[in-house]
Amino acid sequence: MNIINIILDFLNLENFISNIPNAEVQELLTIVFVFLRSDLFFKILLFPGIFTILITVAELMWLELKLIAKVQLRVGPQYAGRIGGILQPIADFIKLLFKETIVPEKASKVLFLLVPIMLVTLAATTLTVIPLSETDVISNLDVGLLFTFAILAMFPILALLAGWASNSKFPFIGGIRALFQQVSYEVPLWFSALGVVILAESLNFNSIIKAQSTFWFILLLPLGAFIFLVAVIAETERLPFDIPEAETEIASGWMAEYSGLSFGLIMLSLYIKLYFGAAMFTALFLGGWLGPSILPPAFWFLTKTIIVVLIIMMLRGVLPRFRLADLLYIGWRRLLILSIVNIFLAITVKLVLF
């Protein structure tokens, strides 16, 4: 019995439907209501679906504002909401909602407007396979890890398309940079996750998490965890790898021409992606929802994820931006080799411990 069912019972719409004379419409609506009352719909809409993600992401934005403000000896948002401007991201989003969306002249209009929507859709899709607890997962896919990587592989296309569709030079350079960066950091990302797969003997997130009940994999594969974290930061375009958005070089890069709601959607997708990267790190290396059973597993998962996100955010306070050439150098010459070493380490650990 979930909250949607309670609300539907309260509204008592089924009674109303049974009075509809047309039998076909009646049956169709009945099927819709069965879906609305189902567990799947609850998972998609409320927990661990859209609602939870939006709230988490909004509060992550607020945490970032506050945390960076602390580092920079400022106060940060204060007025929206009672506790230190906790509603600031929501206020920001509402502001963006009412701003005009300007499409540049000679831009490829359909693509230009489609890209933010696709970005948010993709970002949200990845979260369907991340388990907040053993049961709180929308789809317990047997190839969950591969699925997330497959979706991640589609992000650079969208960044490139955003840059191309804007028909403007800075976004185009930004798009190309995003492509370079994300494609080349996908390789270390895959390879470092491979170590985990070797240890857990599975691509399913729940099985991977369960395999960590004795040791978290960060203890067994510290090198892999480090590579994975770096690659996640690069994939999510956070500092020090925010090269595709480098403001002072190429004026916000591939999202330079976006404004209003479409810009809001892009920011939302980037934050969902950040949350998703941290969630993946949690699931692969920090034992996911494992934790003392005093509190529910979802609490442990969210706590660990938020801590990882905060670590990534803290980097923004202390590190400047890399050059693209340095980034590619690190990716191909250092991380790739290290991640291959990591696979050998994983095999060794596997042979010794299990």
Binding site: D142, V183, E201
Partner: protein, 178 residues
Amino acid sequence: MQISYLSTAEIVFILIAAVTLIAAIIALEAKEIVHGALSLGVMFLGIAGLYILLDANYLAMFQISVYIGAVVVLILFTIMIVPREIWLHRPFRITPEVIAGILAAIMLIGSICVLYLSTPAWSLTPSEAPFDWSVRRIAQSIVIEYGIALQILALVLFAGLMGALTLAKVEEKEEETK
């Protein structure tokens, strides 16, 4: 009283197939070449959807990450780097290539028809005893059953890669001497 005559899997199949086909046609016919490349990506996505319908999740994921994550990205990148004018204004003319293409299409469709007619039982739903698609099973079949074939394939690929690198190197040197 029956709402639909098709099962859910069949509806989904028809939708995905339609999207795939339309995307394939757009990929060939689009005037803006970027749109064409994009619909190629959509087509690959549709094919991945078909794989999922056939319970081949592993294959579907690789379809997405290899074809969309690598091939489409490469195509898009190449298109965007090359100046736009080259792609525009290609008048349609019946050349030997066109005739050959039409012939090939007829042969392909014909052979598919022959295959379809010669296959007795044909169903969209997965077979009764589904093949074990688990990752462990795939790994075993790749490494143990087809291990030698894989090694040879890897060697061939490696040789090809080295050859490509050598060729690229030679060209670079020639450019330098110029």
